[in-house]
Amino acid sequence: MVSVDVSNKIGKYTTFACAILIITITMSIILLITYKGLAIFTRDGVSLKNFFLTTKWNPDATPAEGGPFVGAAPFIAGSVAVSLLALLFSAPLGIGIAIFMAEISTGWGCKIMQPVIELFVGIPSVVYGWIGISVLVPFIRNHIGGMGFSLLAGAIVLAVMILPTIASVSTDSLRANPADIREGSLALGVTRWQTILMVMVPAAMPGILTAIVLALSRAFGEALAVQMVIGNAIRMPTSLLGPMHTMTSIITMEMSDTVMGTVSNDVLWTIAFMLLFISFIFILLIRTINRGRTAMR
């Protein structure tokens, strides 16, 4: 029989091994993407300025033609534009839902809105993309203008996709408010509405901000649903109804047709590295927001 002490040790070391594994996976992704992502600057000799600030894209162009052109600005700007616009649509709705669920109608909130939000989370992104192509794009083309494939279509699809994130994280944060601050406020004769807007929402602000950053991070990283509806034209996103491109969609579309070790492939890894880098910035933001919260309480 295994002695008690030994089974304890085995348990501890097995679970520790699992933890080490998760570190290994994360580190290998970060290292590999960083290694591949920097090749464009170190091996192919492209300048940072060229990558970030120019808009001409033709990585296959030979040096004789003046290439390779690896201006990633349209993709970066496209990702920023579509994510921020989606947030603009989604944040008021999502926070509204959260206030509804946590403050206004807790009964309905639990019985109906909770499952609604969970179902929204469950709808796969390709299905959003498919509905985007078959309903949203023709609608925009016929009733609003342009070709349908547009920044607007991408932002609407993304807005629906990030809505549950904003709603559920904000709700949790509102619900975590201690009950006595509400009662205190109401006891002072403040109306329910003033209580919600002046007391409850500000108290839950770090959580709501976290929700917004999380949603933004999800919008940035979403690939297929967006790629299906934005038209993928390589240009700066200057018009709501014009087609545009994003960082994830250029990777989705071009990775399979480029060959590892060439400039056209390297630059895609650089864009992937940028995506990774941006996701770390979001993590840092969330940490900063929440450090403020723990200090406050």
Binding site: V4, I25, L32, I33, V116, S134, S256
Partner: protein
Amino acid sequence: MISSRNSERIATAIFYLIALLVSVLLVALIGYILYHGLRVINWHFLTAAPQPFQAGGGIGPEIFNSLMLLILTMLLTVPLGLGVGIYLSEFARESRITRIIRICIESLASMPSIVIGIFGLMLFVTILKCGFSVLSGVMALTALNLPVMTRLAEDAIKNVSKDLREASLALGATQWQTITNVVLVAAIPGLVTGVILSAGRVFGEAAALLYTAGITTPALHFNDVNPFSNNSPFYLFRPAETLAVHIWKVNSEGLNPDASQIADGASAVLIIMVLLFNLVSRWTGSWLFNKKTGQ
């Protein structure tokens, strides 16, 4: 001037309206998918193989692939996630190592799935020479799902009351016995609910699979069930296009004249599966809870 009472009413009405709007949107979305999809779905569609360039193909192999990848991924992530969860909640004291683990989980969770997909293309498909295969797909999905599972496990374990744990320890049980016999058992309802819900998300994932499990599937012959045989559906080194990937593919690569019907049908199947995961998770959650409290 509007009295404060009236403005309160108007504000409340606006919030009811937002809630209604969002609920209607969901019903409309699901209704649209089911309305268009159910007209396409029949036994043939659910079981037949897709036709590469003609009308009349089905999605049978894709459904099988989706389920196979899901089950294999869960077989990997549930024990691993549970392991990390147990380590973090039971064994580890807050230290530099736990901070690193937490940062890793957080980073992994926020990585875009397409990034994990091309990482899989580089490491599993190319360097480890697994090819576009079930195995590459499962490993990419595991990387994607592991942080979710770890958090789930940690939360479920932390929610187990301290009294239970202390009672067990007081009765002379060791820490490991307490974890396996008391804490984990008490955490089961929370775990099961979470696992099934996250299964729904794994089922719908496509971006991480384009470049790992691939966008093709061989003909599946179910008379050969030996997973080590090249021709078996259970062979781990064959490409395996899943349902979600198939929807993307018929939209972009698809040469079938009935591509939009296929996408409609496949979307409906995907949504029905997700609804099913959702319902099952609720039912088992409350069933297990009742069973536990009933004892």
